[in-house]
């Protein structure tokens, strides 16, 4: 049980670490190319911080949900999703209304976790590229 929890925590840690590296890379690029990078950087930090917290909350929710009866797990996860959705809505609203935060930076911060996950768990796998044009019907066992 403790070992299983560790693997989930390791995954969280590795994704959040990659996210931090990507944040730093984007921050450096924006500082080099933009005339006024401060609002963008604030937006990026704001968006990625909320995204990281949402991801952590998602991990806690799912770890709890798998030990519940299926119907209860379904309603519990959906409820928690809408709570996170409201938090995200507040974050986007604040970054739209506040003049010192750039909305583009916030959006990049919020959706960066998706690209990190895709880059570290899907696009780094050679099998994915090999099977991309393969039809399922052509495989011998039908799977």
């Amino acid at each position: 049980m403790a070992n299983e929890k560790n693997t989930v925590k390791d995954l969280e840690k590795s994704i959040l670490k990659n996210m931090l590296f990507a944040d730093i890379a984007i921050a450096i690029l924006s500082a080099l190319w933009m005339d006024e990078p401060m609002p963008f950087l604030l937006g990026l930090i704001f968006g990625s911080a909320i995204s990281a917290l949402n991801f952590k909350e998602l991990a806690i929710t799912l770890t709890k949900a798998v030990n519940m009866p299926p119907e209860k797990a379904q309603s519990f996860t959906t409820r928690k999703y809408f709570l996170r959705y409201i938090v995200t809505a507040v974050v986007i609203f604040v970054s739209i209304t506040a003049p010192y935060i750039n909305i583009i930076g916030t959006i990049i911060g919020l959706v960066m976790i998706k690209f990190i996950i895709l880059a570290t768990n899907l696009f780094n796998d050679k099998k994915f590229y090999k099977n991309i044009l393969k039809r399922k019907e052509d495989e011998t066992n039908g799977r």
Partner: protein, 88 residues
């Protein structure tokens, strides 16, 4: 009766557009809930696979969640920072 101005029409259509964009937020919620329910069933059937199930579900749910954020961004920009009004 006053005629409908261009700005009023754009704002009304933006409000409708924002409402339609918010529909995108419902799908990931239903999907995540369905996945969690099936995950719970899987853990019930094979408790030793809990770590693998949670890990896979976590990655899938995090990717699905950003899809809802896209709709939310469009809706909030249409409502509070509408770029179309400036074009009039």
């Amino acid at each position: 009766m006053e005629p409908i101005t261009g700005k009023a029409l754009v704002l009304a259509c933006s409000a409708i557009g924002a409402g339609l964009a918010m529909i995108a937020g419902i799908g990931p919620g239903i999907g995540q809930g369905y996945a969690a329910g099936k995950g719970a069933e899987g853990v019930g059937r094979q408790p030793e696979a809990q770590g693998d199930i949670v890990r896979t579900m976590l990655l899938g749910a995090a990717v699905a969640e950003t899809t809802g954020i896209y709709g939310l961004v469009i809706a909030l920009i249409l409502l509070f920072a509408n770029p179309l009004v400036k074009l009039l």
